[in-house]
Amino acid sequence: MMLLKLITWPYVRKHLLRCTLTTAGIVLGVAVFVAMHTANQSVLYAFNRTVDRIAGRTQLQVSAGEAGFPEEVLEKVQSLPDVEVAVPVIEATVQTGIPGMGNLLVVGVDMTGDRSLRDYELETADETIVDDPLVFIAQPDSIIVSRQFCDKTGLKLNDRLTMQTMAGPRQFTIRGVMSAGGLASAFGGSLAIMDIYAAQMVFGRGRRFDRIDLAVREGVRVEEARQRIQAALGPGLQVEPPTSRGAQFEAMARVYSMTANITSVFALFIGLFLIYNTFSIAVTQRRAEIGILRALGAPRSLIRNLFLAESALAGLFGSLLGIVLGVAMARGVAGYIGEYFGEVYGVGEKAEEVAADPRLLGLALLIGVATSVFAGWLPARNAARVDPVKALQKGRVQVISEGENRLRRLVAVAMLAGAVGCVFLSSHPFFFYLGYMLSVLAVLLLTPTLCTLLTRWLRPALKWLRPVEGALAADSLLQAPRRTSGTVAALALSVALVIGLGGISRASYSTIGAWVKTSLNPDFFITGSETITQRSFRFPESFADDVARVEGIEEVQPVRSTRILYKGTPVMLVAADVEKIARRVRARIVDGDRESMYARTARGEGVIISDNFSLLRRVKRGDVIELAAPNGLLRLPVLGIVVDYSDQQGTILMSRDLFKRYWGDDTVNAMRVYAKPGVDRAALRQKLLETFGSRTRLFVMTNEELRAYIMKLTDQWFGLTYVQIVVAVLVAILGIVNTLTVSITDRKRELGVLQAVGALRNQVRHTIWMEAAAIALLGLVIGFALGAVHLYYILDVAKRDVAGLRLEYLYPYGIAAVLLPVLLGSALFSAFGPAEGAVRMSLVEALEYE
């Protein structure tokens, strides 16, 4: 402690900027880790809390995925001996049109019995209406909203609220206001309760319920009751506690965690190199201090521990800052993720409270400190090896690690060989990820060697540009590879991260774009919701025939898509007229015979699955998959695998007849409409809106609009990726600033001598600028190469573990072309400060010894 106070603190105070910059990598790494995970956890927590609050005293829930089930199931459940209370529920998210309010979660319940499970705690109500369930039911425009909602919107009891219904915008009357807390605070308070049968009508749900909430009889164990109820209802219906919905949501959120983890690891790696770099230089600079300490009898272990303590402190400081920054960023990220989930999965959740899990913060702190200590370990060991005699002889440099370079190169080559070996065994996740790690580590360990090699090649070019300054800059890099290789490695990692993220983004756009072109080729898409991902509103089956009768329309393909559970994970089930689709769509077939697979699927003899379903669920053509439907368990062979990006968790295509039979649901949530050749599309769209707009709620999207919408979703998905790219570039720039600042300080004497022997100020400036540009160039070259490897691996991660996306390997040359001037420019810009510092420093101070 005393040493830290006497030796470290004055050093830190003197080099405050450098020390701060050093910890920047840790700050950003920890911040990204904390922000992404806190945001993910907050959204998940908000979702669980909503489930919990809506569940009330519900002990078990009966469901059949998003499709729901026929009303008759309710009586069956209510008649089971273990069931005390069972009430039906419908949930729908609707737009209110109130600016800034987003969606309102409407929960349809049967007010006759629902109060047995849920407390509405009405603070204000028209007693004759709300206190009397039947009167509430008798008036289908009745809704109860939360106090929070009223406070936000300025609405009060008996005010009218417009909500979107199947019959278009309709006014509802607020007949009760729930007190804050409990049920009222579910979905961030944006919650409305209405009669379930009115909800069925306004959302076009037919005679179906989404789920049944139940409480078991007193004295009956919930798990035992669950098993008996499940056995009585059969496998087509799932009987689970409300908490299981959180697990399903988590599966969807996992994709984001994965990408966040990769970015965090890279950012921390960058931080590791920055710290390593700074500490290595600090050891060199503080040789004299170390020598004095050793001469005074300080043991090697004390010196080593001193440097380790310093790196631990730097890690602690960086981690704490990173945690603060991460928590601050989490709110924005949570809002973004919540919105994205709402768009894509239709289960948008607002994380009103963003609270970091102390365990997560502890882990972030540990990772930050451990990374820093690990980075400081080599410099600390070198510091401990300082020979006091040599250290106290000014101008004499002790070569500490002659043998290390050879060893490092050997290890790097071995790792490279290991990585190549792992490629052949990469079908196993362990070897895949080992290969990934080894290849990155090998490139990093080879960085000093690569730096020396590349600088030698670069020297003539630099010399050609500026004979004196170019040679000086190149020599400076060659003479002190330790000083620059850490920064180059950090820079290379940043560049690789950007190349990886940019590459996956480019591949996704290209692949999804190609899919959209081939598969989504109808002229119009008619939906009951603003977006195709929302399925709250549905049309009756007959509506498709009505649309088909409109003049100018050649064909209508009714589609019912719904999310079902496949082995506990929500996947997308698309029920359509497969034969018609096969005639119109030329989807890329991964496995299967085009003619037979569509024909057999149309006959209900099997299903076609998407490529990502196949990859994520490890299902091959010919495998039999089991689908739990309300009317029984379906066992169907996989007849073909096609490229389809409708859903991140995978898609199953089946015939509508089969779906109707097993799900007892003949509603439609989208229609693919083809116009006759030569028909004016704009006029036809107008005709559709005029013909049906007054009768039902409908949205007619043109093909271009749908494509734009899907690309917008892709944009949203990559929205956070772009933030990560900015972070990576920022860290890279910080790395250059750090290195140059350190470099100038380190070369104070050398630069002083240069000026003393007549070097012009501009020559010194140019030397430093060229050195900065050279560091950036080295980082870019190695980064581009490492990025190519990184991209290969993350495309595979996306395929096997994230979204089952088989993305094409497309190197993002455009991004690389942008990075080149950006980082070179940043390097030059970063060099201005240090260069001016170098030319303005006191010669007397610089040449004190001489």
């Binding site: 006759t112 047995s116 004759t128 009397d132 039947l134 009167v135 008798a138 008036q139 009508m201």
Partner: protein, 250 residues
């Protein structure tokens, strides 16, 4: 509705000393009629003494736990047309469906919901059932006068298969005419609901209470039902008591 418990209890029998069960049986026998029709006026007085009024028409075919009944609201406007169809069974709890014209839907009232309040009144759905005498066991507790009229005080305990919300009931049956004077409904050891029958009149040779007051002791609210235009043995078509008929009547 007025006959829910009265039907159980109002009857005539031998005037001699009897056991508890036979008194209840006699009460039920005396109240028996082929059908019934009345217009009811409901006054609900909540804990804050706010009064709301509703009106309905009640029609019943059959009696003594083997009957069908339709109750249709006529006022106020917000509940007009809402109806309840009850199929009473002698051996099990009744089947009940509610019809809501605004959504054109009938909904089944589950057994579990029978303890919930009916139409914002202090009656529960269970209180609307006609129960056969065999669905409870009885014990004579003694004799007590209610409003000056001598009564038998009988404890009635619903059998488990009745799936009643009540643990037991205390019935006061008027000695002179076998009409129920009061019923105390217990949940465990607490009286939660008290039903008082008054304005007893002879209508078409059946002694009937024309005023029924239910006091919910937990909420401290009261519901008073007055029976008007009461008729027995009116001609009512059987198909009036079906779901199809509910859907037709809008």
């Amino acid at each position: 509705m007025s006959k829910a418990w009265a039907v159980l209890l109002v009857a005539a029998a031998v005037v001699r000393a009897q056991d508890a069960r036979s008194i209840v049986e006699e009460s039920q026998r005396r109240a028996r009629s082929g059908s019934q029709r009345y217009e009811g006026t409901l006054e609900v007085i909540d804990a804050k003494r706010k009064v709301t009024t509703k009106r309905w028409i009640y029609e019943r075919l059959g009696s003594a736990g083997n009957s069908k009944a339709v109750l249709r609201f006529t006022a106020p406007a917000e509940v007009k047309g809402v109806a309840l169809l009850i199929h009473n069974h002698p051996d099990r709890a009744s089947d009940q469906w509610m019809w809501t014209p605004a959504v054109q839907r009938e909904r089944r009232i589950a057994y579990q919901d029978r303890k919930t309040r009916f139409f914002g009144t202090d009656f529960t759905f269970e209180d609307l059932e006609e129960r056969d005498v065999d669905r409870s066991t009885y014990r004579m507790l003694g004799e007590e006068a209610i409003e000056g009229v001598p009564c038998w005080k009988i404890e009635s305990t619903p059998k488990p298969e009745a799936r009643s919300q009540y643990t037991r009931l205390y019935l006061w049956i008027r000695k002179p005419d076998y009409v129920a004077a009061q019923i105390d409904c217990f949940q465990r050891d607490r009286v939660i609901r008290r039903i008082r029958y008054s304005d007893v009149e002879k209508v078409q040779n059946i002694w009937t209470a024309r005023r029924i007051e239910v006091h919910d002791l937990t909420r401290d609210s009261r519901t008073i039902l007055r029976l008007e235009k009461l008729e027995y043995d009116v001609t009512l078509p059987a198909d009036l008591f079906t779901l199809q008929a509910l859907r037709r009547e809008r």
